[in-house]
Symmetry: C2
Subunit: 246 residues, 2 copies
Amino acid sequence: MNSTIRLQLEHKTIRKFKEIEIPEEIVSTLIDVARHTSTSSFMQAYSIIRVSDPGKKEKLAQFGKQDYIAQAPLLLVMLSDMHRNTKIAQENSASDIHFASFDRFLSSSTDAILAAQNIMIAAESLGLGGVFLGSILNQADKIIEVLELPDYVVPVLGIGIGYPDQEPQLKPRLPQAFMFMEDRYQLPDLAELQEYDALVNQYYDLRDANRRVDKFTTQVTRYAENPNLERSRLLDIFRSQKIIKY
Amino acid sequence: MNSTIRLQLEHKTIRKFKEIEIPEEIVSTLIDVARHTSTSSFMQAYSIIRVSDPGKKEKLAQFGKQDYIAQAPLLLVMLSDMHRNTKIAQENSASDIHFASFDRFLSSSTDAILAAQNIMIAAESLGLGGVFLGSILNQADKIIEVLELPDYVVPVLGIGIGYPDQEPQLKPRLPQAFMFMEDRYQLPDLAELQEYDALVNQYYDLRDANRRVDKFTTQVTRYAENPNLERSRLLDIFRSQKIIKY
């Protein structure tokens, strides 16, 4: 156990921030941490947009239907970016450009997401807290427009960061036996999830008397039954950005 | 600056490991760190397979065409996993199950990749080193077979971890100006990459006298020109695993 691992084991999502600006020096450090993350084939095929314009932040909050998106002192959008490398290849008179595969999209979005987690830990190590915003993909075509993303660039994940103005409880996670396997895929009897369900139930009970007390398996079932219709066009939108052609 | 950020800024990929086993307690800590990573909608839709069987490790090394895959004392495969939650929803008599969207694949693979970066930092904080293995996707259908992945489960990223037996130089990264933007997508003049190209050139020159000295823009151009044909079927393979239907 050391201070890094302690941070990681105590990770909690922060959605309520103090109205304190994050010093520019810290922002720059967070981006440096992102830059030093591993990158597939050294392609560095991702970029980060900081959304500072209050009008744009408001729009992203509307798309994601979460007020705290606009309230995060630092709002970052991680991009899978094949535009920069396409331009580089063009200027170097590449004979052909094969960036538009699903495989390469996966590599570049992996770059962006690894960097996102690195940013989160660095922020937490500095007393900041944050939230990952998958919800920015709810209306991917609109965020592409707002951030003026060119072809071959799509958003993959948002991050809201600030000084925490809440102290959430640690949320109990699936026991190792249900998600860590050896040599082949194998699951314990799912009936054994009962104990974990009880823990999750207790967590919600303690957290908020007004909120529905819920088990993990109930949440999964509800989630399964309700498709996110807004995002059902996501692959089509990514295709129309030309980042995935085949 | 603190010890966590120092680790992150000094990150180097390690591909050569001492022949020392990693204590089981440390492996368990790394998995605990993964478990405490943020997860989209609390779905925890990822799993981790540790590949210990020497024959299976050898196969993965063949698929990825990298010997060091088999030599990593700890070899992990991060999975996007919709199987567990599908089973949970079925056992709870879900009226319908809507997990097979591209959107939900992206969420679950994001879970897996955020956890992967958390594992990497935790490992580095303990004096270990590692390498992310995108190459395990070279022959995704075969690794699916070897790891006996059921429908709704696909590999997204491998990780090799061990005690470092090499001391690589820090690899220079794209300057912030080329990957960090404000409010909208915008790039500096790419001619300004010349200085960075020179840095990369110097890095390779110092690293290995036998290896071709290379610039960043040259690497990008070569990469653009050469499609990874083995992986061109990746989306089809994922579709046949039923994890992406629409």
